[in-house]
Symmetry: C2
Amino acid sequence: MEAGSVGRVETQFLDLPKPVRLDCGRELHQVRVAYETYGTLSPERDNVILVCHALSGDAHAAGVSAAPGESTRDGFGAEDRDGTAGKGLGWWDGMIGPGKAFDTDRYYVVSTNLLGGCRGTTGPSSTDPATGRPYGSDFPVITVADMVRTERAFLDELGIERLAAVAGGSLGGMQALQWAVSYPDQVDAIVVIASTHALHPQGVAWNSIARDAIMRDPDWQGGHYHGTGRAPDAGMGVARMVGHVTYLSAPAMGDRFGRRLQFADDVRYTITEPEYQVESYLRHQAASFVKRFDANTYLYTSRALTYFDLARSFGSLRQAFAAVTARTLLIAFSSDWLYPPAASQEIASALGELGRPVEFHVIDAPYGHDCFLLEEARQTPIIRRFLLETS
Amino acid sequence: MEAGSVGRVETQFLDLPKPVRLDCGRELHQVRVAYETYGTLSPERDNVILVCHALSGDAHAAGVSAAPGESTRDGFGAEDRDGTAGKGLGWWDGMIGPGKAFDTDRYYVVSTNLLGGCRGTTGPSSTDPATGRPYGSDFPVITVADMVRTERAFLDELGIERLAAVAGGSLGGMQALQWAVSYPDQVDAIVVIASTHALHPQGVAWNSIARDAIMRDPDWQGGHYHGTGRAPDAGMGVARMVGHVTYLSAPAMGDRFGRRLQFADDVRYTITEPEYQVESYLRHQAASFVKRFDANTYLYTSRALTYFDLARSFGSLRQAFAAVTARTLLIAFSSDWLYPPAASQEIASALGELGRPVEFHVIDAPYGHDCFLLEEARQTPIIRRFLLETS
């Protein structure tokens, strides 16, 4: 079977008819959801897979965007190895399509931009209907459960009640877990990749530093920078660079960049200019990220994924999973030190102790957390078989 | 033997009579060196140990400062476990003193603030004699070899030709290595702790991000912030937080902070305030660091330790060590991922292949790079024996 593309796609938008109630106690009114769909909904509406994205993703998960240059496939390797940057390929295009891991010949794949996002779904850069101005930092603090609640309300509008699967990596995997916990009767299976039930303390620290870098930028202006002509690009760049290094493994950085200098074979004795290729690469990543991403969305999303803690919310991981019925597939990567395999093992153990059907794979791969975007070939057979066994 | 304190000490200052020639081709005039000495110089002047500090240290390595509140012992654990912060204890007080690793009953220990520093030795915050204003970013870009050249010139003024040993951790260990390479006939032994012959690419990245965080702060003002009433404290704080996490191991952060919340047993739904104890801790570290450290010194020192690359400078590590005669003691820590044991092993192998006397120990300890400041009890017998065998 030749794996193919879903072709040209356009992001669509749907306005939720009712407000979304949030964990913090507030309600969000006039919530819009940006989404894409791939494949065909079965007459029984029983072939739906919801795909959830990670911190910097969006609804454009597969195919070629009708708005070129909008690709979010800017992880390690993606743009350089595949040459996809600027071609508008979806961030998980290697995984979604005819014959791929999430096979659009069989499944109707739905992808939304998450609540709090900046790529079409209501978020801090959206207009607050109460004031007519952008929310900025008046946007309520949201959680992964809020994101999932929004996805639930959105699918209601599409007339979809049950999901054959929810799938995602990293923060997307958190959403998949939350789906199984929040709506146990409505999810047949979850695919949780390079994710965790609770970010480890060092991950909490990295996220905190990234947020601080943004908020310490005077152009953040307390979160109300929209319309001022200034945005905290400097701080966002630092946040992105910190994130980027945590997404890679040290050996992968070594293999790719080594200590190679930018110019010739000697240093130029400069503090301000990049001397090493890795320094230049990080600056490039920072510069391209700030062009396409909203700083407040970064803050809110980073906060939500830091808050995520199923054991704290329910008393223990076992209690969190007590009502779960979904079959669970966990995939982790040996070199991922931000979402290490140990966390997935804890999920597998808790589900296993409860007698729930769970499958856990550790893929030995060198690229760190970014593996979930890169190691498509090795994830594909695992996911295809798992989904076939579900249906 | 009861290990004791060197007692009350005062930092002294010495002005070098001649300019210091730098690797970049420039010369620095009227260089002042801040230093402290502990113990007694033997009549034969053959008992001198030079101690070199790391990125954020200073000349005050041991004893109680006459200027209280000036302690630089603010690494992980140091202030909290030992309660030394604010009491003016030297940064390596646990290692230097009567009966300690660097035994002042036997050795005359000399500690200087490194070239480019901000604690008494000439650096970017010093007055440029050519203009009468602080150098700021007009300070020349310096290297580890320049630091060592300055230390050599300083010791000449003290009338000290040979060194029984040069010792240091991290950047201090780089200086010790450089001493053995630059002045092979004048160094009997080097003690290189938690260091490397060349920072690995991920370490290059972290240092690059830290420097960028400072330079992106508008208060950096192109490096000429002295006298403006503004300093890049926001960016420096981010740099320090990044550094801090890299100095610790993920398990150590987990043991110490876990995911414990700041208040009560639930989150408060805030983006701007710290929710987790580790978030609060990092902000505290940032705030205390900016009070005592100059941002430009951070930039220059970070650049120097990034440049350090003995294999590049000499063609190979073996060629770099070809003339070395010093006995070498290498100590690394199992959990140190910024200066991992593998780098020390490469040094040991290169020296071993050349038939040079070298000893390498990996101490199994959980605190990451900060171990070199914390694991005093386990380093002490190794260092004491090594030094005794030398003399």
